[in-house]
């Protein structure tokens, strides 16, 4: 408890200190890795000015976020300009606390599952089992990683709306375990309302409801209907504010048709700058289906491990969405310690981690070489971001694979030969 308090206060202090370094915040807000056309604060401000002239915040191709978020931030800023950075810091804090809660509940549930299924476990697996000390250390570690991840800090001080998205997703996962479907679906609806892709996570909500709720209270359909209900309420309120159907869906249109090809850390822009117009619709469909479709086979495979499904779907969303930024990755990076008991079964964890770090540093370098120094071109930058995306993919597949392998090994034993015997290999030397 005190650990958490110390971590949170250090995080808040760090952010307040960084926020008052105006040059740094200005520079970071302009970086393509941090701010996208959908989430950028400067675009929001421009949208405010445009909305004062024309009444519609989405006219003028400047602001591409949702109506309610812009209304909320506008009134917040009208109240006091100091309140806005405070709200962003508060979002980070609340998200960290939610992730901490979630980690606690999840590990408790896993431990309970493990203890209740002791008969299914094979002998000699004690070394890899989940233990109590995980329960003490991991939640604090999750909160620590979330608050002190450079990606989160950078997103917070650039006042990008990804902070809100992360908050809503963190609150969503926090309510998953006890299965309070109203709260879960509310936060998922908020996140889906802002950025379209978390709609895949409704499957997670339904699976969690099925798994963690007691037999009598189980109502999977209720989850779905609650989600649709909250979404309708959100769109209704924004329709009341805006007065036209077109403008309340314009940010969805922006996400799905991807009209803006400014370079970012994703995979869409480079491809769409070079294809012929004739094929644009086709490849738009291909890329969007790529971002959405993985939920189907993964849900089938991971139907009894919904939290793992949630993790990998969050990774896929943050990697394959149309306008990603580094802030999208912080959520699942901070959830990695939840599977620390399975790290033994990861393949080349060092290489993959170093790849992530290297590519994170390489992307701004390639940007500088391309845009500022004119000694590189778009290919350099895209290669660096592609390597960054690949490292994400390696990490997520490693983690899920390791988790599934762990489940296999605790049932079948640690040392296994192909024919099922548990002999150790014997090395015969010549001399």
């Amino acid at each position: 408890m005190t650990n958490l308090f110390v971590i949170i206060s250090c995080g808040v202090l760090l952010r307040t200190w960084l926020l008052q370094l105006k040059d740094l915040t200005k520079w970071i807000s302009t970086r393509p890795e941090v701010s996208t056309p959908q989430t950028s604060w400067s675009r929001l401000v421009e949208g405010f000015v445009i909305s004062q002239q024309t009444g519609n915040i989405h006219s003028g191709d400047s602001y591409h976020g949702s109506t309610l978020l812009s209304a909320f931030l506008f009134h917040l800023q009208a109240l006091s300009p100091l309140l806005v950075p405070a709200v962003f810091i508060a979002c980070d804090v609340v998200a960290a606390i939610s992730l901490h809660n979630f980690a606690k509940k999840f590990l408790q549930k896993e431990l309970d599952d493990q203890n209740s299924n002791k008969s299914n476990l094979s002998k000699g697996v004690d070394s890899i089992l989940l233990k109590l000390h995980y329960l003490e250390n991991v939640p604090t570690l999750v909160a620590l990683i979330y608050l002190f991840n450079p990606f989160t800090i950078v997103t917070c001080i650039s006042q990008s709306s990804v902070t809100f998205n992360n908050l809503f997703l963190a609150l969503f996962v926090a309510h998953l375990i006890p299965g309070s479907s109203i709260a879960t679906t509310l936060f998922l609806a908020l996140s889906t309302y802002e950025t379209f892709y978390p709609v895949q996570l409704i499957i997670v909500a339904m699976l969690c409801e099925h798994k963690y709720q007691k037999e009598g209270n189980r109502n999977v359909a209720k989850t779905l209907f609650c989600f649709i209900f909250w979404l309708l309420i959100l769109f209704f309120v924004s329709y009341l504010r805006e007065g036209s159907l077109e403008s309340i869906f314009s940010h969805y249109k922006f996400i799905l048709t991807v009209p803006d090809q400014t370079p970012n850390i994703g995979i869409f822009w480079y491809f769409f700058t070079e294809i012929f117009n004739h094929f644009q619709t086709f490849f738009l469909f291909v890329f969007q289906i790529n971002a959405l479709f993985f939920s189907v086979p993964l849900s089938v495979k991971l139907r009894s491990h919904p939290i793992c499904l949630m993790f990998i779907l969050t990774c896929i969303i943050s990697t394959f969405k149309s306008y990603p930024c580094v802030g999208d990755a912080t959520l699942w990076i901070s959830m990695l310690p939840l599977w620390s008991h399975t790290f033994k079964y990861q393949r080349q964890p060092l290489i993959v981690t170093v790849m992530l770090l290297t590519t994170t540093i390489l992307c701004p370098v390639m940007w500088h070489m391309w845009i500022v120094a004119h000694s590189a071109n778009a290919n350099f930058y895209f290669a660096a971001t592609l390597a960054y995306t690949t490292s994400h993919i390696f990490i997520m597949t490693n983690t899920v694979m390791a988790y599934l392998k762990w489940h296999f090994h605790i049932r079948k034993g640690i040392h296994l030969n192909l024919d099922g015997t548990t002999e150790k290999a014997v090395l015969r030397l010549m001399n």
Binding site: Q53, G55, F72, V94, H100, V237, L240, R241
Partner: protein, 380 residues
């Protein structure tokens, strides 16, 4: 008798006055039709060669540049197109200087030369674009030929030429028909009043043979089938330093001062065959004025006719049908310091949101907050 004499004297006086007036009128009419009607002078000086062994062509163009500047045309009205690879050429034993004579008396490059198109910018396309004015909108003024229908233009070209063409920088050529068409485009867009075209290359006459636009004079240094030759070598520099025709042209121009009354006919006597070895050619059939009455300063200088008057002219306010013209209403000059000050003068189109909108959004916000607080509270 006295009365008769008196009448006779008065009559003679009147007749002589009348005659003087008539003479004055005649003179005035002649002056009007033989004087030039231009109000500004421009020059386009093009050297179409590059590389060290074509030193003399750069020296040609720069010498004419210096003469034209000395006679009054400002740099802003001279378009100088050179490869500009002589002064700082590694083979130049006089770095930063270009000479047109082996006595090395005048440095025609100097520190105040303004080359408008240098190096690889000297192309046929750029030359024609400069003449016709069809330049990209972001071209600076120094690279534009901003002439109007009262401009007299001097076009001087030098380099390597052949029959019906002129070589541009070893890579391309301009044909005489292209040049004639470019001048026709200039005429149709009223980009010159009168134009003097001087060309110092081999077989130069072929370049003006296809001209068909009015008010053009052409002077070429050699006939078809003849080569224009260079004048002399500067052994200290190691290359031919000036061409014959331009050398004699410069000799002639040295004696010309601003306001000089030398005529074009005297210009056309420059460099006869025994001096030039090639025979200069001339084209005056498109020019309305006679050559012995056209001044060189119409093209080489920047002299304008000015009428001085001691009269005081009072401007009265304009009387309209509604009475006197109203006093000028000047709007107070405002300076805007930021976009939103300016933007606020736009009409604001406001859509009325639904009256329930603010209350609905407030309720929603409260619901979200309550859920957040609830989730924070059931921690522990």
């Amino acid at each position: 008798m006295r009365k008769n004499t008196f009448t006779l004297l008065v009559g003679l006086l009147l007749i002589s006055l009348y005659k003087t007036n008539a003479v004055n009128l005649d003179e005035k009419v002649t002056d009007h039709f033989s004087g030039s009607r231009h109000t500004n002078n421009w020059a386009v000086l093009v050297c179409t060669s590059r590389f060290w062994f074509n030193y003399r062509h750069i020296a040609n163009a720069l010498s004419v540049y210096r003469s034209v500047k000395r006679l009054g045309i400002p740099d802003s009205q001279i378009i100088l197109m050179l490869a500009d690879d002589m002064a700082c050429n590694p083979r130049n034993p006089r770095p930063g200087k270009v000479y047109n004579n082996k006595n090395e008396a005048i440095d025609v490059y100097g520190s105040d030369v303004e080359v408008d198109y240098r190096g690889y910018e000297v192309t046929v396309e750029n030359f024609i674009r400069v003449l016709t004015g069809r330049l990209p909108p972001d071209t600076p003024r120094s690279k534009r030929l901003n002439t109007d229908d009262r401009s007299n233009v001097l076009v001087y070209m030098t380099g390597h030429g052949g029959e019906d063409f002129l070589k541009f920088q070893d890579a391309e050529e301009i044909a005489n028909v292209e040049l004639a068409d470019a001048f026709e485009q200039m005429w149709q867009r009223r980009r010159y009043n009168e134009l003097l075209f001087i060309i110092d290359t081999c077989q130069a006459v072929s370049m003006f043979q296809r001209f068909y636009s009015p008010n053009l004079v052409g002077i070429a240094s050699s006939q078809i089938g003849e080569d224009s030759l260079s004048h002399h070598v500067d052994p200290a520099i190691g290359v031919y330093i000036i061409d014959r025709y331009t050398y004699h042209l410069l000799e002639f121009l040295e004696k010309v001062k601003p306001g000089s009354s030398k005529t074009m006919q005297q210009l056309m006597k420059v460099c006869p065959r025994h001096q030039c070895i090639s025979t200069p050619g001339y084209s005056t059939h498109l020019f309305p004025r006679p050559m012995n009455q056209t001044l060189i300063s119409d093209f080489f200088g920047s002299v304008r006719t000015v009428d001085l008057s001691d009269d005081v002219i009072k401007f009265k306010p304009r009387k309209t049908s509604q009475g006197d013209s109203p006093p000028l209403k000047t709007s107070p000059k405002r300076s805007y310091f930021s976009v939103d000050q300016f933007v606020s003068t736009f009409p604001i189109i406001k859509k009325d949101p639904h009256p329930m909108a603010s209350s609905a959004s407030l309720v929603l916000l409260l619901i979200i907050f309550s859920f957040i607080i609830r989730s924070l509270c059931d921690f522990e």
